[in-house]
């Protein structure tokens, strides 16, 4: 690994750093603008031209305000939404990863009849637009009598399970068969092989799909809006934000929405920071030489 990074010359290094800065600006600028807007008052938001930092309309001096943040944090809805979103997205991810990696092991590494139909069946589950399945899903949820949070976890399977299954299938398939065979020769059952050899080897894929599925569940709006309509205490963050009616009727609290958006993005970034080591830690040298 070290060998490959040593012969960088100066130009290459500058170009590389320039590229990193370019990528970072592209990806982060809109978020910076959201934070910028969240620190502005109503009148600062409507200044022309828009300012890159919160400035006083008259004197143009720097004057950020935290009023949007305090309004958001005083709203019990928002904090409860944060808790609900954490519960729902975590459970969804865990369930989708367990069911998905089991299925993916079968689909990627075992030989059995009906492999292809099973693969397509699982993908077909997520091919309808959410709006279309909403009424049918609502009927199912009502019939099963699930409470709101549980019904969210299960309905999120519609888009997370096919995703985890397909991604993990692709990754399992790429692992050399020799690995499984040598484990079997050593007397391991296929399931033991799966748990103690294949799963650790695909850790980057597991963490990646887990993170992506978590964020997808965290951000989902339509199902959450529908299934929490009977139980407002189960509202997740996106729904809670949508219900920020604003103190003034018909006036949209844009600054508060941006403050809330900035607040909910931070825990996700921390989550990624914690897990990102795992994304790279995947293949330890020599593990596949078997």
């Amino acid at each position: 690994m070290n060998k490959r990074s040593s012969p960088f010359n100066l130009i290459k290094r500058v170009a590389f750093n320039f590229m990193i800065i370019f990528i970072l600006v592209y990806l982060l600028f809109p978020f910076y603008w959201a934070v910028n807007s969240s620190l502005k008052t109503e009148s600062q938001l409507f200044m022309t031209p828009a300012t890159a930092l919160p400035r006083d309309p008259a004197t143009l001096e720097l004057s950020p305000t935290l009023q949007n943040y305090s309004a958001v944090l005083q709203d019990g809805q928002f904090l409860r939404g944060l808790a609900n979103s954490t519960i729902v997205a975590t459970s969804t991810t865990v369930l989708a990863l367990i069911a998905g990696s089991f299925a993916a092991f079968a689909l990627g590494k075992l030989r059995f009849r009906g492999r292809k139909p099973a693969l397509y069946l699982i993908l077909a589950m997520t091919m309808f637009p959410q709006v279309t399945v909403l009424t049918g899903l609502y009927a199912v949820i009502t019939a099963l009598g699930f409470p709101a949070r549980i019904s969210l976890i299960f309905s999120y399977m519609i888009f997370t399970l096919p995703f985890t299954t397909w991604v993990l299938t692709a990754f399992f398939k790429e692992l050399p068969d020799a690995l499984m065979e040598s484990a079997q020769v050593d007397g391991a059952t296929p399931f033991q092989t799966f748990r103690s050899i294949l799963l650790p080897l695909t850790a980057p894929a597991l963490v990646t799909t887990g993170l992506l599925a978590f964020i997808a569940a965290w951000n989902e709006y339509l199902f959450a809006l529908t299934f929490t309509s009977i139980d407002p205490s189960a509202r997740t963050v996106p729904v809670a934000i949508a219900y920020f009616a604003g103190a003034v009727a018909r006036q949209e609290p844009f600054g508060e929405i941006m403050a809330a958006a900035s607040l909910v993005t931070i825990p996700l970034v921390v989550l990624v920071l914690i897990f990102q080591r795992r994304i790279v830690a995947g293949l330890t040298a020599g593990a596949v030489k078997g």
Partner: protein
């Protein structure tokens, strides 16, 4: 392709085993596979089977959403209404006095007949979707549901352009982040920020940045650079609507693509590259002959899920364009919630389903992910 060879080797090995042992082993493997698939299949049966079956069934009825009205089975009528398209020529209007083609005094362009006069009225009225000129003739595309046909074309253009851009950008970012540098860890977290911003909120955020006056970031910026004379109405003007949607989607979902490709890059065995290095293969050669082929499975899955999401795009169209311009899913929403035409909405769902299925199969065949054994 390493695993291709691997699996043929396994096959040979398997067939050289004693027949009895093989069938026992195969049976055990089959039973294990079914047991492992069980949780996923149970979840599908519980949560997805009824809603999906209901969509198919409802698409053949005239069911009205949230009403006690009687539902009738109407066969393919919904599909016929959505998909009837008619293309016909438009003749130029001749000036009665001179016998020449009439020219509009305001625009200076030739005048053609009104599309409504030439488009069929049976079984229901066809209305204009678009006009185009080909080989000196003028044609009009009419449809019984022009909004839907327009939404299909919007969605397909949106999907093809944005998924292509996301793949290119995502690959570039994944390659950068895959190489070693000091702040790689923070970079990996930073790169997920767009994907982490709640979709509905990010649509509002972009709406604000694209505001049609200098309150919006883009107009303020362009004005400051002196690039524009007057503010651009990005979301109201037809020419900017689709590009704006694409820009927002590319920004939002490139991290998704980049992270999946990065995982693909990370699971590649180092020793192949070391061997290639020893053999004297340059970086570009290594990329084309090793990285890209090995990345295919990850790329295929990323493409399938991105395309699938793009074809179902809803939030950004709904929030930013509302009824001004539809995607298939936002038109679907409008028909269901706005018009309560649940039968028609279901038919739209089925059409989207079929379209997505087509794309998925095309990817699978093209990228050869399905090759097994």
């Amino acid at each position: 392709m390493g695993s291709n060879n691997d699996s043929t080797v396994t096959k040979k090995k398997a067939s050289s085993r004693k027949p009895k042992g093989l069938s026992n082993l195969a049976k055990r493997e089959e039973r294990l596979a079914l047991r492992l698939l069980l949780p996923a299949l149970l979840i599908i049966a519980l949560i997805a089977f009824y809603p999906l079956a209901q969509v198919f069934y409802t698409s053949f009825t005239d069911r009205v959403f949230a009403s006690g009205q009687e539902t009738n089975f109407i066969g393919f009528d919904n599909y016929r209404r959505l998909l009837s398209v008619h293309v016909t020529t438009l003749d130029p209007v001749l000036d009665e006095a001179t016998g020449e083609i009439m020219i509009d005094p305001d625009t200076g362009k030739e005048v053609y007949e009104r599309p409504l006069d030439v488009l069929p009225r049976e079984p229901s009225r066809f209305r204009e979707v678009n006009q185009f000129s080909l080989f000196g003739n003028r044609y009009v595309i009419g449809a019984t549901d022009p909004s839907f046909i327009q939404s299909v074309s919007n969605t397909v253009v949106f999907t093809v352009v944005s998924v292509f851009l996301e793949l290119a950008l995502g690959l570039a970012i994944a390659l950068v982040v895959n190489s070693k540098f000091r702040f790689r860890g923070s970079m990996r977290a930073a790169m997920l920020v767009p994907w982490a911003v709640i979709t509905v909120v990010s649509a509002r955020m972009w709406e604000w940045m694209l505001a049609p006056s200098r309150v919006g970031m883009f107009n303020a910026l362009f004005d400051w650079m002196g690039a524009i004379d007057s503010p651009i109405a990005f979301l109201a003007a037809g020419t900017y609507q689709l590009p704006a949607m694409i820009a927002v989607d590319v920004w939002k979902t490139t991290p998704f693509m980049a992270l999946l490709l990065l995982a693909g890059l990370q699971t590649m065995p180092e020793d192949i590259f070391e061997a290639a290095e020893i053999d004297g293969a340059g970086k570009i050669r290594q990329f084309v002959t090793i990285t890209l082929p090995l990345l295919k499975p990850a790329m295929a899955v990323a493409l399938i899920f991105r395309t699938l999401d793009a074809l179902r795009v809803f939030d950004i169209f709904q929030v930013m364009l509302g009824q001004a311009q539809y995607s298939m899913a936002s038109y679907n929403y409008f028909q269901l919630i706005g018009n309560r035409a649940m039968g028609l909405a279901s038919a739209i769902g089925v059409i989207i389903f079929i379209l997505i299925f087509g794309f998925a199969i095309a990817y699978i065949k093209m990228l050869g992910v399905d090759r097994n054994e």
